[in-house]
């Protein structure tokens, strides 16, 4: 039976015209082992049954704008209502209900404006709600023109028969994609071939968008493998799961292949047909393989080798690495421009040494070799070890899982060792790993694309499908572009998006130890920003009414890891924190740091990006880091009109605003003793009011709009309030009032609402209307 509107292109059970069978039997199949079964993935349904018994709807769906169709904009006329949450009426034929047809017709109702140029537009949705290891997730990518792209990920819950809905918790890409929610209905009958999808995107202040997506594949991505074997070495690419008695009772007994492992992870696996033998002489005189030798072999013997990203992976079965028997396998390809294209398994290592007393040594060894192959290949998909998820360059707040029963965990690393591991191992990847492999932006997963260990963890945040709070990171400027040398200050905004008042910690956004901030320069690994200091602030319960927000500046220019936003280029900043029992993940903010505009900037840059200067700017000034102060003085002198001079003047002025006490001790290294015994003394340096005022006026008042933009609105208001209070203490009430007036006018012109200026001088803007 077919849908009225969405006609199937072929009769039930018929192979798609023009398609060839894929996955030819490998030439290098091990002796006595089963060759990889020839399959036509497109007609294989659940449990391997062919259509018409295909029951799952998960897979890849595609929408394309017809080539010469103009982009549409939503109609200003009343639209059909969105479908209600609940079982939709089902036509006996399985055709979409009148309701669905009506909803789909909003495309026709839309006005088509002659927006030029006409752009190629395509969208994909990966629906993951049934089949093997469903993640209750949908992800999608929107392609516009030659390079515009937006990727989104949403958690889904069933809201009706073959209908799911959820919040979009992740967005990536330069193309705008404002939607915050998606609702998806699978069309077609439950017992026939997969029908199409109806997806409606809403929220984010944008008009609702509905598209109909055509079923494309039950897999989420393609991937191709090539298995090469060093002469006199065996390749283990299959394993009889019933051959060793230590296994879960529920584990199906089958001759499991590597291809099946990755097929179940959601990939349409094919073989290159180029499997072959690699001569041992490639390992050099010592007969063991170095990383460089494996790289050379990959370039020579891999039939698909290319200096580009591709869904293709080379696997070498060899005897031993230079490191010795302690290395059982490695994803060696972590150099050069295209990582993660090659892996190797070493049979003559500890993976082939069954434990003493093992009664089924042969099965144990074969299982370990098979497991190692799947493990190393998992690294090529940019998966890290289970206990490393929080290390290196996590994209989102992560949790290590050292007890995971996954291909990516060491069997001997769990409690109870490998016996305990395999007793509970289902020959699969963990749910977070599957979520990453299936739904992360393709470039994070695809071989040869994002660098190794970049975005590997992707997500283990427990993001609620109905979040009560929204976390945003933004800049207070028209375009998120920073001048060279300009310390990057961003603004954080936490909004109550629920219909009820919420009690939150008013100091939350200032407590940087409770958030994970990730900075990533385009083409480089992401890094976690670590501030110079963490503040243990007393919680300040604050009632946040619906629609109201908290704000705070975030100074991410420098930290313990150095200056991660110093070099010219494109960056992405994203952060996450845990609030009121749920993980909040901000939008990814794309920003740009400009190239130097003058020679003087390059000259200042040689010294500016030091730890001392970073600390001085982070802490708002220092009397003691004299070398750093000299560098900031130099920056002000050489570049008086620059943005960095504003920050430098404020940092240099702050210590002059008040008396400083310092403990001065003798020079040289002495054994610990009392300050008195060391002729130590307390020296009081008085405030230099005139100098401080000159610097503060220059920084905050001479070019106030520029100061507000570079310090951020909240940061600028904080500084001005503090300065005004200081002027009042010095008896300069008139100057303090002028200072406040100027700041008010400056921020008003920049769209900051009037209520921000209510309250005593020196108070911070906290709650606001979103």
């Amino acid at each position: 039976m077919t849908d009225k509107k969405f006609t199937q292109t072929r009769a039930r059970g018929q192979k798609p015209a023009g398609r060839q069978g894929t996955a030819a039997a490998p030439r290098g199949a091990e002796p006595g082992g089963a060759a990889a079964p020839a399959r036509s993935p497109e007609n294989e349904g659940l449990f391997g049954w062919p259509w018409p018994l295909h029951r799952t709807v998960s897979g890849l769906y595609t929408w394309r704008r017809p080539k010469w169709q103009l982009p549409k904009v939503p109609s200003p006329f009343p639209q059909p209502p969105e479908w209600p949450v609940g079982p939709p009426p089902i036509h006996p034929s399985g055709a979409p209900s009148e309701e669905a047809a009506e909803l789909a017709s909003d495309e026709a109702a839309a006005i088509r404006l002659p927006i030029l140029p006409v752009l190629h537009e395509k969208e994909e949705i990966r629906l993951d709600v049934d089949g093997r290891y469903p993640q209750m997730t949908a992800s999608g990518t929107r392609y516009v023109g030659l390079g515009g792209q937006a990727h989104w990920v949403a958690g889904l819950a069933s809201v009706g028969w073959r209908t799911w809905a959820g919040a979009i918790w992740y967005r990536d890409g330069g193309l705008a994609f404002p939607y915050t929610n998606v609702a998806i209905r699978a069309l077609g009958s439950w017992w026939g071939p997969p029908g199409n999808l109806l997806a409606t995107f809403s929220g984010g202040g944008a008009p609702t968008m509905t598209h109909t997506y055509t079923y494309t594949s039950r897999h989420f991505h393609p991937v191709e493998f090539e298995f090469d074997t060093v002469e006199n070495t065996e390749a283990v690419t299959t394993y009889d799961t019933g051959s060793h008695p230590n296994r879960p009772e529920t584990l199906p007994v089958e001759n499991l292949s590597i291809e099946q492992v990755y097929d179940r992870a959601g990939f349409r696996v094919t073989r290159s047909g180029g499997d072959g033998t690699v001569p041992l002489q490639g390992a050099g005189a010592n007969g063991t393989w170095s990383d460089a030798e494996m790289h050379d072999a990959m370039q020579t013997y891999w039939s698909r080798f290319a200096d580009r990203a591709q869904w293709s992976l080379w696997v070498l079965f060899a005897a031993r690495h230079d490191i010795g028997t302690g290395l059982g396998g490695i994803m060696f390809d972590d150099i050069g421009p295209n990582h993660r294209q090659g892996t190797a398994i070493f049979n003559d290592s500890f993976i082939s040494q069954a434990p003493a007393g093992e009664a089924n040594a042969d099965a144990w060894v074969r299982r370990m070799r098979f497991w190692t192959a799947c493990h190393e290949m998992g690294h090529a998909f940019n998966l890290a070890h289970s206990w490393q998820k929080s290390r290196g360059t996590p994209w989102i707040t992560l949790a290590d899982d050292p007890e995971a029963r996954s291909f990516m965990n060491y069997p001997y690393g769990v409690d109870g060792g490998q016996t305990s591991f395999f007793a509970d191992f289902a020959f699969r990847f963990s749910d977070p790993e599957l979520l990453f492999m299936r739904h992360a932006p393709a470039r994070f997963v695809q071989m040869g694309n994002a660098d190794w260990f970049d975005h590997h963890g992707f997500r283990q945040a427990r993001v609620s499908p109905e979040p009560k709070l929204r976390l945003e990171v933004r800049t207070n400027r028209e375009r998120p572009q920073f001048a060279f040398l300009e310390p990057v200050v961003l603004e954080l905004k936490l909004t109550n998006v629920s219909p009820h008042p919420l009690l939150v910690d008013g100091n939350l956004l200032a407590a940087t130890d409770r958030m994970t901030v990730i900075l990533k320069r385009e083409g480089r690994p992401a890094r976690q920003w670590t501030p110079y200091a963490r503040y243990n602030l007393e919680a300040e319960p604050t009632a946040l009414a619906p629609g109201r927000s908290l704000y705070a500046p975030l100074r991410v220019a420098a930290g313990i890891n150095g200056w991660d936003l110093a070099e010219p280029g494109n960056y992405t900043v994203q952060l996450a924190c845990h609030v009121n029992g749920e993980d909040l993940v901000s939008n990814p903010l794309a920003l740009r740091v400009s190239a130097p505009a003058a020679y003087e900037e390059e000259r200042v840059a040689r010294d500016l990006f030091s730890e001392d200067v970073g600390r001085i700017l982070a802490f708002g000034g220092s009397r003691f880091l004299t070398a750093g102060n000299e560098i900031l003085d130099d920056a002000v002198e050489r570049l008086p009109k620059s943005r960095v001079a504003i920050h430098a003047r404020l940092a240099l002025a702050e210590p002059d605003t008040c008396a400083y006490k310092s403990l001065e001790l003798g020079e040289g290294r002495r054994e610990m003793t009392s300050a008195a015994a060391d002729a130590g003394r307390i020296r009081i340096r008085t405030a230099d009011v005139k100098k401080a005022r000159a610097a503060m006026d220059a920084a905050l008042l001479e070019r106030p709009a520029e100061a507000a933009e570079t310090l951020g609105h909240v940061g600028y208001k904080q500084r001005v309030d503090r300065y005004a209070a200081w002027l009042t203490e010095q008896g300069e009430r008139g100057a303090a009032a002028k200072c406040g007036d100027l700041a008010r006018k400056t921020l008003s012109k920049r769209g900051v609402p009037a209520w921000v200026f209510e309250g005593p001088a020196g108070s911070e803007a906290r709650a606001s209307v979103a």
Partner: protein, 100 residues
């Protein structure tokens, strides 16, 4: 003389590492970095005389130090990692560690 193998495992990121055994420096290297795909940065094999050598591992830039006295009759392999909490931690084994 016995041998003690010390593996620098997870968490090293461009660190300068110094290892002393019984007061004798056996290892000093800058830019030590963990290869994440195998969880190993470097390996040191030290000759030790007594049954309980005094081992000290220091990370200079981070100003971290770890002191251990493994019992050689049962420990021949020492794994040192920098934990997520910023502290050095160790594992002891009679058998070599395996890396994948």
């Amino acid at each position: 003389m016995k041998q003690l193998t010390i593996d620098l495992q997870d968490g090293f990121e461009d660190d300068t590492v110094v290892i002393e055994v019984d007061g004798r420096e056996v290892y000093r290297k800058a830019h030590v970095r963990t290869r994440q795909q195998i969880g190993l940065a470097d390996t040191v094999v030290a000759e030790v005389a007594g049954p309980r050598p005094r081992v000290e591992v220091r990370l200079l830039e981070r100003r971290l130090a770890l002191k251990l006295e493994p019992a050689l009759e049962s420990v021949a392999f020492l794994g040192v990692s920098l934990g997520r909490d910023g502290r050095l931690e160790s594992r002891e084994s009679a058998e070599p560690f395996g890396y994948l």
